[in-house]
């Protein structure tokens, strides 16, 4: 997970790294210095080659394909047929694309809001609990966090099964009799409800446990002082916790936005974007249009547009973490 990026600082905080003597000048005879200067480049070369071949090239290829007509016919014939911008113009003028984009953004907003709100609440709660209860809740959080996404979707399909699912039974026992044998996967909103519940369930542990770990580093005297000054719990949160942990909240929120926006497995494996494509988000739409309907060119154009949106989000994220990362 990318979040660890912010975490591998090793020098003591406060103050820039101690100046280091230029190595080649102190240790090496001058004759070998040009050879020695090449060593670091040799060491990073395999990583650069791999990144270029396995990451940069597919990204470039994706861009190239997005300017081609590449359907089943061209694929089998191995022919290249250029399409100019037609994949883009047809997508950008199609209501399906815009509906899917709006749906993706709304889906992301709802999920991230829920994740951050519940994650913060659970993190604050962990900080208040006694040792034993904290251990109990942490155990639940860690197990939910550790659950592989694919296994999670399978379990949620079973929990929300219309015939023997435990959720329908529970709701009907609680008095909502119309929910007995309710089919969650036959309509858009119920399907989204299950997907959202699952994503929130999977993501809250990350936010909560990290917030708790962050809270333990905040000195208790600050909260004491706030209380002395007459601040209630809300005021203490907004005036003490939030400002101190602002970097954490900012970077975590953006990580979650990026993560939810490009979530594919959860949406696809749970109900295949169905019913009738009504729960397709952009990554799922690109996949179904490209691979499912064998319009690889159109799919690549949708992918590229999705990547552009992601790049905008990531630019914000990098602005935030580069401010924090003085070690770079």
């Amino acid at each position: 997970m990318a979040a660890q990026f912010t975490g591998t600082r090793t020098r003591p905080p406060g103050g820039p790294a101690a100046p280091q003597p230029p190595e080649s000048a102190t240790r090496r005879p001058r004759g070998g210095s040009s050879l020695a200067r090449g060593v670091p480049y040799l060491l990073i070369l395999p990583a650069l080659v791999a990144t270029a071949a396995l990451l940069a090239y597919p990204l470039l290829r994706n861009l190239v394909i997005s300017f081609q007509v590449l359907d089943a016919f061209q694929l089998i014939q191995h022919t290249t047929q250029w399409a100019g911008f037609s994949n883009y113009t047809s997508e950008l003028s199609s209501s399906v694309f815009w509906d899917t984009t709006v749906r993706s953004l709304a889906f992301t907003a709802v999920n991230v809001a829920l994740i951050m709100a519940l994650g913060t609440a659970v993190g604050l709660l962990l900080n208040r609990l006694g040792k034993r209860m904290r251990l109990l809740l942490s155990l639940g959080l860690v197990l939910a966090w550790a659950m592989p996404v694919v296994a999670g979707t399978t379990v949620y399909q079973w929990l929300f099964d219309s015939q023997y699912g435990v959720v329908d039974w529970l709701l009907s026992e609680l008095g909502m009799h119309s929910m007995a044998h309710y089919d969650w996967f036959a309509q858009q909103m119920p399907t989204f409800t299950v997907i959202t519940l699952m994503i929130v369930w999977q993501s809250v542990p990350f936010v909560a446990l990290n917030l708790y770990a962050g809270l333990t580093t905040v000195s208790a005297e600050l909260f004491e002082a706030a209380r002395m000054d007459g601040a209630g719990p809300w005021r203490a949160f907004f005036s003490v916790t939030l400002p101190i942990l602002k970097p954490f909240f900012l970077s975590t929120t953006f990580l979650e936005i990026i993560w939810v926006f490009k979530a594919f497995t959860q949406v696809y494996a749970l109900n295949g974007g169905g019913p009738q494509g009504s729960t397709e988000t952009l990554p799922v739409y690109a996949f179904i249009e490209g691979v499912g309907n064998q319009h690889y060119g159109t799919g690549a154009a949708i992918s590229t547009l999705t990547i552009v949106i992601l790049l905008v989000l990531m630019a914000y994220y990098f602005r935030i973490i580069l401010k924090q990362e003085d070690e770079l």
Partner: protein
């Protein structure tokens, strides 16, 4: 008095409810895997399985090709992790210990690579792999999984290498070691825990990967996540066997995760809250 009692009780009550919310899907998966069929399809769900059966586990394990899938998953995952370690170790050493022009740019590339949107790159990867006639084989999977875990591997190893006191290395250099020997004899042994943690992170990512194997290996050389999503279709509504398969798939991840959890949490916040 009543107020303070309530104030003492509600956090604990909330904690219990939240614990149930987070643990229940895991609990339901494992218990369903061990319940006899009659308990699974009873009108009132059986919350405490008193009659455990191994029948579903046996069925999942005996499903056609199960051990082949386990083998393929391990080959793709372990191959990816070992490859990424081999490539990451020298790069991480350079990034942590050497000063050279372009070091910042290299680190930035790694940070950006870590955010690569693999979920929407599947079409391009598919066409690249198809053009090289490598569909339905494990090598491309291992290579691309390697690339997925490489940035984080470099990043974490860089942190671990930077944490080894430079003085130790310098002492070895003074005693006549070359830079390479100093790395092999001093830094590498101290890195063992870091290498372990890093490989386990990579293991989880590669083990769980789904979109790429979904598009690349439709016919053979499939891995467990793909099998699991198709399991329910293949076995009808046999929830017992499906949950048994889920449990088997989850087990290695949970074990690895419990080993790593403390590191993951401590790591993030160490940097996030420095203010």
């Amino acid at each position: 008095m009543r107020l303070s009692f309530a104030r003492r009780v509600w956090p604990n009550a909330a904690a219990v409810l939240l614990f149930l919310f987070f643990i229940f899907p895991v609990y339901w998966m494992v218990t369903t895997a061990f319940k006899p069929d009659l308990d699974i399809i009873s009108t009132t769900p059986v919350f405490l399985p008193l009659h455990a059966t191994a029948a579903h586990l046996v069925k999942a394990v005996h499903a056609s090709g199960f051990w082949g899938l386990v083998g393929d998953s391990f080959v793709a995952t372990v191959g990816a992790v070992l490859l990424s370690l081999a490539i990451a170790l020298p790069a991480a050493f350079a990034a942590a210990r050497m000063r050279f022009r372009g070091r910042k740019a290299f680190i930035l590339i790694i940070m950006i690579a870590q955010m690569a949107p693999w979920e929407v790159m599947t079409i391009a990867v598919y066409l690249i792999v198809r053009d090289s006639d490598m569909l339905n084989s494990l090598l491309p999977l291992a290579l691309f999984y390697m690339m997925m875990v490489l940035p984080l591997t470099i990043w974490t190893l860089r942190g671990f290498i930077a944490a080894v006191p430079r003085e130790l290395e310098e002492a070895a250099l003074v005693d006549g070691c070359t830079r390479g020997e100093a790395f092999r004899k001093i830094v590498a042994p101290l890195l063992a825990p870091g290498l372990m943690a890093t490989s386990l992170f990579g293991f989880i990512t590669a083990w769980n990967e789904f979109p790429l194997v979904l598009i690349l290996n439709k016919e053979s050389a499939q891995t467990l996540p793909l099998w699991l999503t198709q399991f329910q279709t293949n076995f009808g509504d046999d929830w017992g066997a499906t949950m048994a398969a889920s449990t088997l798939f989850t087990l290695p991840v949970v074990i690895v995760f419990l080993i790593l959890q403390r590191k993951a949490v401590g790591g993030l916040t160490a940097g996030a809250v420095k203010g």
